[in-house]
Amino acid sequence: MSADAIITIRDLALAFEQNGVRNEVLRHLDLDVPRGQFLAIVGSSGVGKSTLLRVLMGLSAPSVGTVTVRTTAGTERAMALVFQDARLLPWRRVAANVSFGLEKTGLTKAERRDQALKTLASVGLREHGDRWPHQLSGGQRQRVALARALCIRPEILLMDEPFSALDAPTREALQDELIRLWQSQGITVLFVTHDIDEAVYLADRVIALGGKPGEVRSSLAVEVERPRRRGAPSLSFLADRVKADLAAEADHHDWVI
């Protein structure tokens, strides 16, 4: 167990009951996430990626194993989650959506709004605080969702395929923005995606989950200097390795059946 790990997962298994049948989605997961790392978790759908984030958030309990989160503040608000769809509250203006998580704190309304507007500015939406969510584009809504998560100043940012519903240019802009925010704020990011190229471009380390129930098939450090260039040969090479690891296991899986 490394001492500087902010998240330590030991022999984790996740299962849920469906129509009385126990459905195991993930097993034998061991993971140490060092503080400040950008970790990407890839794998096809149904492999338990989203469930893993829910367990980390404390929204679901693991079936077996332990999850230890060592945040300095020691508060429950140390983690924030960004969903695949923005999930803004349509009856709140943008700034009130961003300050949503602060309503658990002792901040006054003015302080919350102030912090929300600052966070909005950091995602490039300085002027949009008084708009309604429906007046924003899909990319802007996802920026607001990111701001809502960052506004509580989390130590760990959990992201569940946050850009997969966006068009390519918007997705790329948001990826670069996320990297900039991550570098400037020193947070730890757990980024779940099914897009291996995206994972390799963004992350310090890529973990690939495969099989059913899901297990770690590949764990790869991405030691490519930042700023990175999209589609650079060094990144493509690593992406191909992850894809090969997952494909090899898929073939193996076919044989077993």
């Binding site: 958030m57 929204l59 429950e76 608000r77 924030a80 989650l81 969903f83 769809d85 999930r87 509250l89 349509p90 009856w91 709140r92 203006r93 949503f100 998580g101 309503e103 658990k104 309604w132 969510p133 429906h134 007046q135 809502r148 509580i152």
Partner: protein, 252 residues
């Protein structure tokens, strides 16, 4: 085609004009006895007489009290129980058969009990009105709470609002508000129907005055109060829409 803003108003006025014209023509040309159907041209005089006698103001004031209090009590109970049964399956199961037993009983069927419990007095009328309002608001609220997007509830959980009360306050109630308002608006009309019914058995108000007038075949006075109810309802509904527009200003 460029939509002319005056067209809806013009057509509305024309429709109302035609309605009044046919109404005026039917007794005037002897299609129907004016004892059975008063002419619209007779109504203003009857209205002025009712106002001068002070009966109109008293009846309207009393009925408005019944209406407002019945609406308030029924809506409050409907919203509270609708939320509870909408949020808790156990609570809903517990009440399911109670609801099935009580739901089909018409408000008027409660009159004997209303009189026994409250006497021939205002609380009896308020009780009858509240029952009618209650069911509408109860089912609207329960449905709206159940239909709240699970994804938004997950947002509440993810940001630490995972207790039942926090979820309700931060996400479920605002998300269910449009549905609850539909129920409230329906009950605005329902409550006027109950007002007349609840006052038929002797509690002073519009309904009582209408019963008196009809027993004297003073149909013009009956029509005065019918139109009074229509006007009051129109006013309330317009007011309600204005408030609803403000509450739901976030919608495109």
């Amino acid at each position: 085609m460029a939509a002319n803003k005056a067209v809806p108003y013009a057509l509305g006025a024309a429709g109302l004009g035609a309605f009044l014209g046919i109404w005026q023509a039917a007794p005037s040309f002897g299609f129907i006895s004016s004892a059975l159907l008063p002419k619209p041209s007779d109504i203003p005089a009857a209205f002025v007489a009712e106002i001068k006698s002070g009966l109109w103001v008293d009846a309207v004031r009393l009925s408005l009290e019944h209406y407002a209090l019945g609406l308030l009590c029924g809506a409050f109970a409907g919203v509270v129980l609708g939320i509870l049964t909408g949020m808790s399956a156990r609570f809903e199961w517990t009440l399911a058969w109670v609801v099935r037993v009580l739901r089909p009983i018409p408000g008027l069927a409660w009159v004997p009990f209303a009189i026994l419990w409250f006497g021939v007095d205002q609380p009896a009328a308020i009780f009858i009105i509240a029952i009618g309002v209650f069911w509408i608001v109860f089912f609207a609220t329960q449905g709206a709470i159940r239909a709240v997007d699970r994804d938004l509830i997950e947002v509440a959980d993810a940001f630490g609002f995972s207790s039942g009360f926090d979820r309700l306050r931060k996400v479920m109630l605002p998300a269910a508000l449009p549905g609850i308002l539909v129920g409230l608006r329906t009950s605005l009309g329902q409550a006027w129907m109950s007002v007349v019914a609840a006052e038929l058995f002797g509690v002073a108000g519009l309904g009582q005055r209408m019963t008196q007038a009809s027993s004297l075949l003073a149909t013009d006075i009956v029509v005065v109060y019918m139109l009074t109810i229509a006007a009051l309802y129109g006013l309330m509904d317009t007011l309600f829409l204005a408030i609803q527009g403000r509450l739901l200003a976030y919608r495109p």
